[in-house]
Symmetry: C2
Subunit: 103 residues, 2 copies
């Protein structure tokens, strides 16, 4: 492969990654909005807020639907970060009420 052919291929691959990343950002924000809805429902109905079992369900769902090449551990670590960021966003709202929404 010549240097020029390779550089052109890299440009195309990076355009593809940028497109995938924009779709990831859209989905991550969609997920955040649903987590916010869950928080509102729980506060409104005064339901127990923290549900560690639900976190296990999230990990089971994502690792169960992982076809690779990412490993199950890699997928789990990415979702730990995602869940953690969504908790951080909710914290301010929660401090003004009576709990902390789970995922």
């Amino acid at each position: 492969m010549t240097r020029e052919t390779a550089l052109e291929a890299l440009r195309e691959y990076r355009d593809q990654i940028n497109e995938v990343d924009r779709r990831l950002v859209t989905l991550l924000n969609e997920r955040t909005r649903i987590v916010e809805d869950i928080g509102r429902v729980k506060r409104s109905a005064r339901l127990p807020i923290y549900e560690p079992k639900r976190e296990d369900e999230v990990f089971a769902n994502v690792t169960g639907h992982n076809g690779g090449p990412l490993t199950a551990d890699a997928v789990r670590r990415i979702f730990e970060r995602i869940i953690d960021e969504m908790r951080t966003i909710q914290r301010v709202r929660m401090e003004q009420s009576d709990g902390d929404p789970s995922c």
Copy 2:
């Protein structure tokens, strides 16, 4: 909102989150495959492997297309984790050749 209405709403929201999460896993694996393609092209053309500037482009792309409610910092931290996991997956291949693909 009654307890029963709330529990039913939570079930629906969680189904939605599970669906979003499965789409996230699919996209994350799609991204990983492209990163692997980039690694192959770089090794084949003996191009410089590590390109920190490209990482900045990734962050600029995702934060530039972030409509919220996630903050730019939250999006950045999630993508730091994603990039890190993809580097880990590539490491084994790279140790057998002459470099380390960037994202």
